[in-house]
């Protein structure tokens, strides 16, 4: 395995409120706000948009009022600037797509593979080709009997599946995502400070921080998944989540090292080298606030900060 910095690892590393406070700033500095407004790559967005088939969401899970509430929370977590926010990226559609996954067959859990059609094949001489594969991400894959059991339990909870969860008696019943989201939406609407359009960031911060901890975590996970998963899942609309963070998304079947059959050697893409530094300027260099955070983190962990 590679060395993924998993969240469990990360939690152990940064398990301190000091560091969290250094990072979580409800009142961004002008630097941070300025930084949050650049980095758009419209060409990439257009390229990603091609051939994407957004999922049919079937029966909506939310009422119109609830959708507006969820959209407001999504934009609180990932606010719009020059690039879309959580709502504009399709967070509501993503969440509803997951919560109603079993309304369609196969359920909307696993997108197909191997290729999305967003990237072409390479030519035999190691240059970028023009022929693209079909988008197999747009087809949902059937679940196994075991996987269906797990996903129904995850979405509907112990109360919503025959026989419940395997350890309900010992560990307590599993709350499904649908029930959790009902609880979340009720809490959000009860705390709504007024029309969402006029709510201030301070009001939204107070609202969000007042939600149960498990609800906050679930909302963030879902909004971030929506922003950064392949567009076929309903979020990351037109690939704007990826382009916002300068991330290429899925890259097969082209990849970055192209084999030249005629010369029996690799060719690296000039626009995206593998073995050398990027030739283009960093679209979002580390800002002062991030540097302060990294200083704090490193010092807490007994690491070294170069001067």
């Amino acid at each position: 395995m590679p060395p993924p910095i998993t969240r469990r690892v990360f939690l152990r590393v940064v398990g301190t409120t000091t560091v969290a406070a250094a990072c979580s700033n409800p009142n961004p500095t002008p630097d941070a706000a300025l930084d949050a407004s650049d980095g758009m790559a419209t060409d990439a967005v257009d390229a990603v948009a091609r051939d994407v088939v957004l999922p049919d969401c079937g029966q909506p899970f939310c009422s119109a009022e609830e959708r507006n509430a969820l959209a407001a929370i999504a934009d609180y977590i990932l606010p719009p600037d020059a690039t879309p926010g959580g709502a504009g990226l399709g967070a509501v559609e993503y969440v509803e797509g997951l919560l109603t996954a079993f309304d369609v067959t196969p359920p909307r859990i696993w997108a197909g593979g191997p290729f999305s059609g967003r990237q072409p094949f390479a030519n035999a001489d190691g240059t970028v080709g023009t022929r693209t594969p079909v988008n197999s991400f747009a087809r949902w894959l059937p679940l196994t009997r075991t996987a269906e059991r797990g996903w129904r339990l995850r979405i509907y909870g112990s109360a919503g599946v025959m026989g419940g969860g395997p350890n309900d008696m010992l560990l307590g019943p599993t709350e499904g995502l649908r029930a959790l989201m009902r609880r979340a939406l009720m809490a959000i609407l009860n705390a709504q400070p007024g029309p969402w359009e006029t709510a201030t960031r301070e009001q939204m911060t107070a609202l969000f921080n007042g939600l149960p901890t498990d609800v906050q975590k679930a909302l963030k996970e879902l909004v971030l998944e929506a922003a950064l998963a392949p567009p076929e899942y309903g979020g990351n609309r037109n690939g704007a989540g990826w382009s916002t963070i300068n991330y290429p998304g899925d890259t097969q079947p082209l990849g970055f090292s192209l084999w030249d059959e005629t010369m029996n050697r690799y060719r690296e893409r000039l626009d995206a080298p593998v073995s050398t530094a990027d030739r283009t300027p960093d679209p979002a260099p580390l800002d002062a606030e991030t540097r302060r955070f990294l200083n704090t983190l490193t010092n807490i962990l007994g690491g070294r900060v170069a001067t």
């Binding site: 590679p2 970055f256 800002d287 990294l294």
Partner: protein, 566 residues
């Protein structure tokens, strides 16, 4: 994805039944079928390949994809901890459990754990097979010699490298053991982050070299050259450029006409003959939930160390477990003791355009009993890749939201600016580190789940303390502005799972003999990392393939297993 039977569907009588289609099971199947044995492979997980048994290479396709959500969040290849949890405790004499959920779970699908691997394939060193003798003075540990030597395994290493297509540079590793053949191909394109780290290592007097790995650096065995898509470790390969056991070893078995593979067929019990000295069959749950008994002359456990031990325990309710006269069944569980040296640099490393690791350092593997060079492990030079996991670090672990969260995602200090050193260090075997059955927690079929009891020995903790400052030195020489160590101990995060059915010559101290056969059961074998008496400090996959090929060879040619390679 399909639960269809693969291979020769007409076979009804089998010489050998293998439980698990992963690295060890695939290796054994390849050797056994090549030597005239009819083999049935039962795989609990689904099959994400199409045409794996089709003679035309172009017809072998897969639904693995560059999809972080599917592969890393939605349990496409991994078991789902909601219905198949495991439990953990840090002391085997304390409470029932401390944690319930995802504990060291490996991919559960055709191809097994290797599906998620980027298949780094260093060989073990000759002394790795003799640590029982060399480290007998380490108290509270259970180091043991292997019942085979490096020289006995060397022909199987060569076979494994050739069959899976291992790339590398002969002589580049200053600690390279004897090789009878060169690597079958040179290394692929190096990643920028690893080259930066290699420069840092050289400045500290170390030799970084291209990591041996079973990833095609040119077309090989009807599979294409890797194109560095960036979705490698943790992901199944969409193009088969990775020489994963499924597309190399298992496919070879399936094309022999002597192998039948049944996906989504989960073995839940071994049944014994009247005398208890042999296995008479296995009870399995089929894709539709029905139960069926399968039989063969001989049986091979290859379901991973944790699941192997679990199956032996479940199959002997109220007893000590099948094959446990030694009391060693499930014990001496090991993980590689991983220490992450994390550096953050000013410029972007674009690891997303590469494999996760391309270079290694072996000087920190150490020398037995040398206090100035304690036994650590190989150092992987690389970095992380994808943004959903990164975003959770900012959004959930750190509590960021709003413009600051978006700024962190754009700047990506914890992904696109990371350079990472991972030490895969020796994990001292301890009898108290073990797998047993949780007394309360059950899986979706109502079966007891495995319980992991594990804590670290001062042996590996000392090695971490010794080498951590040196990792920081390398990171700083490589240009890291921020550098720190991120230990991960409880529960161990490693997916290198070893031990539980260790093999050895003394039936009082081991579960299997030097041929991989259970001391106590005439026709039951093990073929996976469960056999390992010690963990070494090198990635285990090539040694698993080689040891399991040797086990299979010995089943066909007792006492002369290398004849199976001819």
């Amino acid at each position: 994805m399909s639960a269809d039977i693969l291979g020769n569907r007409t076979l009804t009588r089998f010489d050998v039944l293998i439980i698990g289609s992963g690295t060890g099971g695939s290796s054994a199947a390849a050797i056994l079928t090549a030597n005239g044995q009819n083999v049935l492979v039962l795989e609990a997980g689904p099959n994400h390949y199409q045409g794996l048994d089709d003679p035309m290479p172009a017809n072998v396709t897969t639904t693995f994809s560059n999809d972080e959500l599917k592969m890393r969040r939605r349990y496409f290849i991994d078991q789902d901890p909601l219905i198949e949890p495991r439990t953990f405790r840090s002391n085997d004499s304390m409470m029932d459990r401390e944690i319930t959920g995802d504990i060291n779970a490996l991919p559960k699908c055709v191809g097994g754990a290797a599906v998620h691997s980027d298949i780094k394939t260093p060989r073990f060193l000759p002394f790795d097979f003799e640590l029982g003798t060399m480290l007998s003075s380490v108290t509270d540990a259970n180091f043991a010699d292997w019942p085979i030597t490096y020289d006995q395994l060397e022909p199987f290493y060569t076979w494994a490298e050739t069959t899976m297509g291992v790339s590398g540079v002969d002589g580049a590793d200053p600690n390279q053991p004897r090789r009878s053949r060169p690597y079958v191909m040179g290394p692929g394109v190096p990643m920028y982050a690893a080259l930066r780290l290699a420069d840092g290592a050289r400045m500290r007097g170390l030799s970084a070299f291209p990591y041996p790995m079973a990833i095609n650096s040119r077309p090989y065995d009807n599979r294409p050259a890797c194109n560095d898509c960036g979705f490698c470790g943790g992901y199944g390969c969409p193009t088969h450029a990775k020489g994963a056991p499924a597309v190399t070893l298992l496919r070879r078995a399936l094309l022999s006409g002597r192998c039948q593979l049944r996906p989504e067929t989960r073995v839940v019990r071994l049944t014994r003959s009247g005398s208890g000295m042999s296995i008479s069959g296995v009870e399995a749950i089929l894709p539709d939930g029905a139960r069926m008994t399968f039989t063969a002359d001989r049986y091979v456990l290859a379901a991973s160390p944790i699941e192997d031990a679990r199956l032996c325990l479940i199959s002997d309710p109220g007893g000590p477990g099948i094959g446990n006269s030694s009391g060693m069944l499930g014990r001496n569980l090991m993980f590689h003791f991983q220490t992450l040296g994390i550096g953050i640099v000013e410029e972007r490393m674009h690891v997303v355009r590469s494999k996760n690791v391309t270079h290694a350092i072996t000087e920190y593997r150490g020398v037995p009993n040398d206090p100035m060079r304690p036994l650590g492990g190989i150092i992987e030079l690389g970095g992380p890749s994808h943004p959903i996991e990164e975003s959770f670090n900012y959004g959930i672990s750190l509590g960021a939201a709003g413009p600051r969260l978006k700024a962190l995602l754009r700047q990506s200090p914890m992904r696109d600016h990371l350079i990472v050193l991972t030490m895969q260090a020796e994990d001292a075997p301890q009898a108290r580190n073990r797998v047993d059955l949780d007394p309360g927690v059950r899986d979706y079929e109502g079966l007891p789940v495995p319980r992991i009891s594990y804590s670290n020995h001062r042996f590996e903790l000392g090695a971490r303390d010794f080498y951590s400052p040196k990792l920081l030195d390398i990171l700083q020489s490589a240009g890291a502005r921020w550098a720190f160590i991120a230990p991960v101990d409880r529960p161990a995060q490693s997916r290198h799972i070893l031990g539980t059915l260790r093999f050895g010559t003394d039936a009082r101290q081991s579960v299997c003999n030097g041929s991989g056969r259970f001391h106590d059961v005439d026709n039951l074998y093990c073929a996976d990392g469960a056999l390992f008496p010690t963990s070494s400090g090198y990635n285990p996959i090539l040694t698993i393939v080689s040891v399991c090929a040797r086990v299979a060879g010995d089943m066909v040619f007792p006492g002369s297993p290398e004849r199976a390679l001819m």
